[in-house]
């Protein structure tokens, strides 16, 4: 409590504030501030939710873009010459073409060399025994 000089009535500060004094004024101000704070709260919450949703969507977009790029790379690998050759060899059991080169030589073919008879191996004389006449006769018979 504020006091004045002796003999005078003590001065009350609240009396200087209109409409009920200082506590009332402070209380009113606090109420107003509180009300002002509460007023946009719903909007702020809504905004934060939207931001979270946008971040989630952006994350999903990033994921899809990443997967798309990964698929493009995989597609490029599948279409690569290396992979095609590997698949052809391993899965389809194909083999690289073998170049068969034919060289035509314009000279007469080799003739079989003839050696003098003295260098040839001795001829094996196979003496076929002649078939006897009676065997020929028997063989010629239709019922035999």
């Amino acid at each position: 409590m504020a006091t004045t000089r002796a003999g005078t009535r003590p001065y009350r500060l609240w009396k200087a504030i209109p409409w009920g004094g200082l506590p009332t004024a402070i209380g009113l101000a606090a109420l107003v501030i509180g009300a002002a704070s509460l007023f946009p709260l719903s909007g702020l919450v809504k905004s934060l939710v939207s931001e979270s949703h946008a971040a989630q969507l952006q994350r999903e977009l990033l994921e899809w873009e990443t997967k798309l790029k990964e698929l493009e790379a995989h597609l490029a690998y599948l279409a690569s010459l290396q992979r095609i050759e590997k698949e052809a060899e391993e899965r389809l059991h194909m083999a690289p073409p073998q170049e068969t080169i034919y060289v035509r030589v314009d000279v007469p073919p080799f003739s079989i060399p003839t050696l003098p008879s003295r260098y040839l191996p001795p001829a094996t004389e196979v003496e076929e025994k002649s078939t006897p006449w009676w065997r020929k006769l028997i063989n010629s018979l239709p019922f035999w």
């Binding site: 004045t4 005078t8 001065y11 500060l13 200087a16 504030i17 200082l22 004024a25 101000a29 107003v32 501030i33 002002a36 704070s37 007023f39 946009p40 909007g43 702020l44 905004s47 934060l48 939207s50 931001e51 946008a54 971040a55 952006q58 994350r59 990033l62 994921e63 873009e65 990443t66 997967k67 790029k69 990964e70 493009e72 790379a73 490029a76 690998y77 279409a79 690569s80 010459l81 290396q82 170049e99 080169i101 034919y102 060289v103």
Partner: protein, 540 residues
């Protein structure tokens, strides 16, 4: 007394006004402007959009390199200070990313940075698994990896990117601006021909125990490079960036390295002499086996005298003395003018960094002498890149018009596709001269049995054997064998240069490089639908 009352009232009024101002501001911000303020101060989405570098495609749109989104895992150094916790977390993490836990802990603690990257190139699925672990101090960062569907095909053309995603060599570096901004590059390279060319090159190097080699296939009418490869090369998926001795592998020798083209250059000498009307393919000439120039003897490759010959024989039998005779008939002014027109001694303009212009001692050089004219006539004493030699060959195939060799067919951006506009070409020799030289080349064929691959096609070529220049001298017993050819001769579809470095079997271009030419030419002509009789049944 009275004076004190009004002071108190004044203070009370000021406090009341301050409250009112605060309340008014609150209402303004939270009630009236909350729509506009929403979003400010709210945390950004959990992950920014990943950074995707553009693709490099072949001429038919097949990807040679593309970017796949990925993630990398970063660990805070302080999160793994406690050994027990570090081991527990690293064990869980190691199971997902496939790394040794102790190695990851050691790397992280030894890192001078606040965070250390312990894993790269994780797929979306793997990244989800890491996130599900909810490890403290471990976070995922969007990343990307370059993926090569065709493996190491055209490695030196494509080039590499560093871990920061910037192009370091090849097209990756040259077109960094396009690729870094998500644009795609369409090359003139055809993956089928590139593969055939690389296989033929590898085979030739293997069969002849060579140190390396190069091959180039070009469309002579447009200058489009259909295939381009050199050996040795590197693995695109794990380039040896940490090995300084391997850095030379990243350059493209077809563009950056010069060599003495050797007898292949006789094509230019013969073409110039015919174009000037000095000789015809049938003009007779007598070869004595040696010619003296400035007191120096110049011999044929076989140190033999061949007697009565024609200009065609000079090309077919690759007679140095004949080339000297033709160059002397032309004189230095005309001879070097034709070298300039064929593109020697200047940049070709191909879209690769580090291109060498070649070295030619022009007559206005104070050190030039008639010996230069003589040796230059058969491809010695000057240096050219394989691209320049192939471009010269293309001019002969293209009826005398020189086109700029190029690798980029188009660039795809969100604004659309920008195609490389065809250039008309510069006249070097007349169409009649070009045709006459092609007919002379028909008598130079790959050796049997490889020539049978080209049975039914009319192709022609020119061989070359040159010394290897090391420093300022020739390397002893080291040669470069080459074969430059046109297929088919009537309506050329491709020109091919095969160059084999330091073969250990024989040095002759016909034997060493000729079979590779035959294989590539046979595949290319079949691929372009040219029938064995030389008729085009279905164009591409």
């Amino acid at each position: 007394m009275r004076g004190g009352h009004w002071r108190v009232k004044l203070v009370a009024l000021a406090v009341g006004l301050a409250f009112a101002a605060v309340v008014a501001r609150l209402i303004q911000l939270q009630a009236l402007e909350h729509q506009g303020q929403s979003g400010k101060g709210v945390t950004a989405p959990s992950r920014p959009k990943p950074y995707l570098r553009g693709s490099i495609l072949d001429a038919n749109g097949n990807p040679l390199v593309m970017t796949v989104p990925a993630f990398k895992v970063l660990v805070e150094k302080r999160a793994w200070q406690d050994p027990q916790r570090a081991l527990a977390d690293a064990s869980l993490l190691g199971q997902v990313v496939g790394r040794d836990p102790l190695e990851m802990i050691h790397e992280t603690l030894a890192s001078p940075a606040f965070e250390h990257t312990v894993a790269w190139g994780l797929s979306w699925q793997k990244a989800q698994e890491v996130e599900a672990l909810r490890l403290k101090g471990v976070r995922l960062v969007p990343d990307s990896v370059r993926f090569y569907p065709e493996g190491n095909l055209a490695s030196q053309v494509l080039g590499i990117v560093g871990r920061d995603g910037n192009g370091l060599s090849g097209i990756e570096r040259r077109l960094e601006d396009v690729l870094a901004n998500g644009g795609d590059v369409i090359l003139t390279i055809d993956r089928h021909l590139q593969r055939v060319a690389e296989e033929a090159l590898d085979k030739a190097i293997r069969q002849h125990g060579a140190k390396g080699g190069s091959v180039m296939v070009m469309n002579p009418k447009t200058g489009e490079i259909l295939a381009m490869a050199s050996r040795p090369t590197f693995d695109l998926r794990s380039p040896p960036l940490d090995d300084p001795s391997s850095l030379s592998l990243f350059r493209n020798p077809l563009v950056t390295d010069m060599y003495e083209p050797g007898s292949v250059l006789k094509l230019a000498t013969v073409a110039a002499a015919i174009d000037q009307g000095l000789v015809s393919p049938h003009t007779p000439w007598y070869d004595r086996g040696v010619v003296m120039v400035g007191g120096w003897p110049i011999y044929n490759w076989d140190y033999s005298a061949h007697g009565s010959r024609t200009v065609t024989d000079i090309l077919v039998q690759s007679l140095n003395t004949g080339a000297v005779w033709l160059a002397q008939l032309l004189g230095p002014e005309h001879f070097y003018e034709y070298l300039r027109r064929f593109g020697f001694g200047k940049l070709s303009g191909i879209e690769l960094d580090g291109e060498a212009p070649g070295q030619v001692r022009w007559p206005d050089d104070p050190h030039w002498s008639p010996v230069d004219l003589a040796t230059n006539s058969f491809g010695h004493g000057l240096a050219a890149t394989p691209v320049q030699v192939t471009t010269m060959l293309a001019a002969i195939a293209n009826d005398g018009l020189l086109v700029r060799p190029h690798l980029v067919k188009g660039i795809v951006t969100p604004q659309g596709v920008r195609w490389t506009s065809p250039e008309p070409g510069e006249r070097v020799i007349s169409p009649e001269t070009a045709k006459a030289v092609r007919e002379m080349m028909a008598r130079v064929q790959p050796p049997p049995p490889a020539n049978t691959l080209l049975s039914g096609y009319r192709v022609g070529g020119k061989t070359g054997t040159a010394n290897v220049v090391e420093g300022y001298a020739y390397k002893p017993n080291a040669y470069i064998a080459s074969f430059a050819g046109i297929a088919p001769l009537e309506d050329p579809k491709v020109v091919i240069l095969v160059k084999i470095d330091e073969p250990t079997t024989v040095p002759w271009g016909t034997v060493v490089a000729g079979p590779a030419f035959a294989e590539i030419a046979a595949h290319a002509l079949s691929y372009f639908g040219v029938t064995r009789e030389g008729k085009l049944v279905s164009g591409r």
